[in-house]
């Protein structure tokens, strides 16, 4: 349990009063609390480091914690200080704010920790001075992006209760969610590649037979190519329809770029099917086939790099636009100049200004085909100026585009790396946490039983040994969980034990000396049975119990709780000391009857050591519920269908 939340434990315990009227059994007694609490000091004592300042300094900002009466909550009468359990290093900047009026953000500080401190002391971050504000905002933006990434990841992991349609959509968008999705992903990728290859090979001239001239493969093996094309288009159509079906917002899906590419890729084929063998129209039809090349864009779903490139181009749209604009300006200017410079020479290729455009573009991009060259001296001078400036104009916006691409690409890489590391981190955290909280509870259950045993035999030393490990906080938390168990008449068990209980489907018959008692209530009646059960041989008992352990001369409480129900996968008694299911012996179980036998040993009144008070003599319970608080060492049940047999 986190230390911060420990302060809320009193609240959680008080809220447990909400369970009381609902519970059918009495609650266990609460552990006692003998703690005294510290209070605050007049001097600002932040985690041990004392800061001193004038009261008027703090009063300068009355809407913050330190400047208002809110700090009275932190005042310590004895030491006359105000004590804050916060980070003293961060507190420096906060106190400096009161002194100088400017809030600074130290670079070494983590942004979220700093934010928390600010919120705690009631200072709004906008007050941060200009000197540090840029840094603060940048760090905050990075943090927000990181949180956004994490949230997206979490959303991916939300599995339960998704409709079929949602599952399909998730599978399409994220192929790593299931093997089916992965298979689908690879199959479509393969078919895209096949389709593109087919389109390309169609135009390659195949080997010429002596009778015919060289003709492209497409015309030689028409049927084969047609079949291939049909197959690919079928697959793409099916894929498109499935995506359309699964999309959460069909209208938006149809407007998205990828779906338009899909449509454009498969459309020519259908038009070709519909189209008759009309001469005029087939010319247009051939043109349409050009669109088949768009299929290659479908690869962008498969390649993250392509997507990043597309996204970069989109985000650099302004830079690209500027590049285009400046190039156009330069082209027009130089083309005009070249035209007029070459006008004089005869047989010149520069017939008009638009004709000079081609020369200018080829020169500015340093291609230099050489099909158009200036012949006059003026033309050559302006031509060289043109090529020099071409280099500059193109070189300028390109770094911006490159840096954008690089930033987005690296961000993506970081996100991928974080995702990969996250699983391992979470697993480690979970192991560390559950290790402490849950097993602590089960450990304490076992310890309580052990304590009761030890009480019986009166061995004090072992008692104290066991109780050292549990702090008051832990015992209070465990008490809270006990109350919940009592309210619902069920118990918490360890995960492994639960699995074992489920596996035990055989119900053995149990013969014992104690008379069995069948209940009329049905399975609910077993309320508030012993919270821990141990299995052991009683020296005087004639129960055919299995011997369990090496407790020496200790008499052990033995409680066998067997519940038979109609549908439950059942249970034999278990021993929480051993933490594994022991055989109790054959148990006879008929239908929905409950057979419960409990052996209890009346104990002398003594102080229990785990904090729970034993008030009054142990009581043997007759069917009506008991009046006093429960002594943990007593086997008692509140239900009317339990017989106790004492064996000493």
């Amino acid at each position: 349990m986190a230390a911060g939340v420990a302060a809320w434990l009193p609240f959680a315990r008080a809220a447990a009063i909400g369970w009381m009227p609902v519970a059918n059994c009495p609650m266990p007694t609460a552990p006692r609390d003998h703690r005294k609490r510290h209070d605050e000091l007049i001097i600002l004592n932040v985690s041990g480091r004392r800061f001193q300042t004038w009261r008027t300094t703090l009063d300068r900002y009355p809407d913050t914690l330190l400047g208002s009466s809110e700090k009275q909550f932190f005042y310590d009468e004895e030491t006359k200080e105000y004590f804050f359990d916060r980070d003293p290093d961060s507190f420096r900047s906060i106190l400096n704010f009161y002194r100088t009026g400017k809030l600074h953000y130290p670079r070494y500080e983590c942004i979220s920790a700093y934010d928390e401190e600010l919120t705690f002391f009631g200072i709004i971050p906008e007050i941060i001075g200009d000197c540090c504000y840029e840094e603060y905002k940048d760090r905050k933006r990075e943090n927000a992006e990181r949180l956004q990434d994490d949230q997206d990841d979490n959303k991916d992991c939300k599995l339960p209760n998704m409709t079929y349609r949602e599952t399909m959509w998730r599978a399409f968008e994220n192929p790593h969610t299931s093997t089916m999705a992965l298979v689908f992903y690879y199959v479509t990728g393969f078919f895209i590649a096949i389709s593109v290859l087919t389109n390309v090979i169609e135009t390659v001239p195949c080997g010429a037979t002596p009778s015919q001239k060289d003709m492209p493969c497409g015309e030689r093996y028409t049927i084969a190519f047609f079949c291939m094309d049909t197959a690919c288009v079928l697959i793409f159509t099916v894929e498109y329809l499935m995506r359309l079906f699964a999309a959460p917002s069909r209208y938006q899906f149809m407007r998205s770029v990828m779906s338009i590419i899909d449509v454009v890729a498969i459309f020519p084929y259908y038009i070709g099917l519909v189209m008759t063998d009309n001469e005029d129209v087939s010319g247009a039809f051939v043109t349409l086939r050009v669109f088949r090349v768009f299929r290659i864009f479908k690869f962008s779903r498969h390649s993250q790099g392509l997507r990043i490139l597309g996204y970069t181009l989109k985000s650099c749209a302004s830079e690209l636009g500027f590049l285009l604009f400046s190039l156009t300006m330069a082209i027009i200017i130089f083309a005009t100049v070249m035209f007029y410079a070459e006008k004089g020479s005869s047989s010149t290729k520069f017939t008009s200004i638009p004709a000079s455009f081609w020369y200018t573009i080829v020169t500015m991009t340093t291609l230099g085909y050489g099909d158009m060259v200036p012949k006059t001296i003026a033309g050559k001078i302006f031509g060289s100026i043109c090529s020099l400036s071409g280099v500059l104009v193109i070189a300028l916006p390109v770094p911006v585009i490159v840096s954008n691409f690089s930033r987005i690409y690296h961000q993506n890489q970081r996100a991928d790396k974080r995702r990969a590391q996250k699983k391992a981190r979470l697993a480690r955290i979970r192991i560390a946490q559950t290790g402490s909280s849950c097993t602590g509870f089960f450990q304490s259950k076992r310890n309580d039983l052990l304590n009761e045993l030890l009480e019986l035999t009166g061995s004090e030393e072992e008692e104290q040994q066991h109780n050292k490990s549990i702090s008051l906080l832990e015992s209070q938390h465990h008490h809270l969980l006990h109350c919940l168990e009592k309210t619902t008449a069920h118990e918490f068990v360890d995960e492994q034990l639960y699995e074992q209980n489920c596996l035990e489907t055989t119900i053995q018959s149990y013969t014992s000396r104690s008379p069995s008692f069948s209940s009329q209530d049905g399975p609910i009646g077993t309320c508030c049975t012993r919270r821990g059960k141990m299995n052991s041989p009683l020296p005087n008992s004639s129960l055919p119990l299995q011997p369990s352990h090496q407790q020496g001369a200790l008499q052990e409480l033995s409680a066998l709780h067997i519940q038979c129900g109609d549908k439950l996968p059942h249970t034999t008694s278990r021993s929480s000391l051993n933490m594994k299911t022991d055989e109790v012996g054959p148990i006879n179980c008929k239908g929905s009857q409950i057979t419960t036998a409990i052996i209890s040993i009346p104990t002398a009144p003594s102080d229990t050591t785990d904090g729970g008070g034993l008030h009054g003599p142990p009581q043997r319970r007759p069917p009506p519920p008991p009046t006093g608080p429960q002594a943990p060492s007593i086997n008692t049940t509140a239900s009317s269908n339990v017989i106790k047999v004492s064996a000493l």
């Binding site: 349990m1 809320w8 932190f74 919940l484 068990v493 609910i524 077993t526």
Partner: protein, 217 residues
Amino acid sequence: MGAVMAALSLEARRRLSRPNREKVDSDLELSIVRHQPEGLDQLQVQTKFTKKELQSLYRGFKNECPSGLVDEETFKTIYSQFFPQGDATTYAHFLFNAFDMDRNGSIRFEDFVIGLSVLLRGSVTEKLNWAFNLYDINKDGYITKEEMLAIMKSIYDMMGRYTYPSVRDEAPSEHVDKFFQKMDRNRDGVVTIEEFIETCQKDENIMNSMQLFENVL
């Protein structure tokens, strides 16, 4: 020529980068909701806690919620930490509504401390009143079977999966039936506050357990 181009492009880039920052600014969240509680003395008058108790309560409260207000999500997170095995969020939701008396979606320190004062220092009748208020989800003065079933399910949810014996699906409704059998005197299908208090006062178990948490603070 090239120099002109370069100068133009530099100017354009500066102009281009500035709007981006403002856009980003508006994306970042700038709202700060904060609440300061009333003074220590006023709270002492309103509740039955001593000054020191109020101080320690506030410290814990403020630690977990520096802004002074607990919203429902934070509340659920805090409460769930005490019940690691089960799902405490539904019950935390009901608890939240029981504490948030003015129904504004967040618990202030005053609500918190007044609620606690009833629970820890109030008379048995006040505690029973509080419990009734908790069960009566729509605060109409009657506990119906559906309300009780919702509450019961949330309590059983806190137990989680790994229980002994396993929680069956009918367990909450059977528990509710038992509850109504005990509480609903006139068999009209709802439990009123008078029936509730009357029955609880006759039940020794309940009366004893009400005293259980007297010394929590």
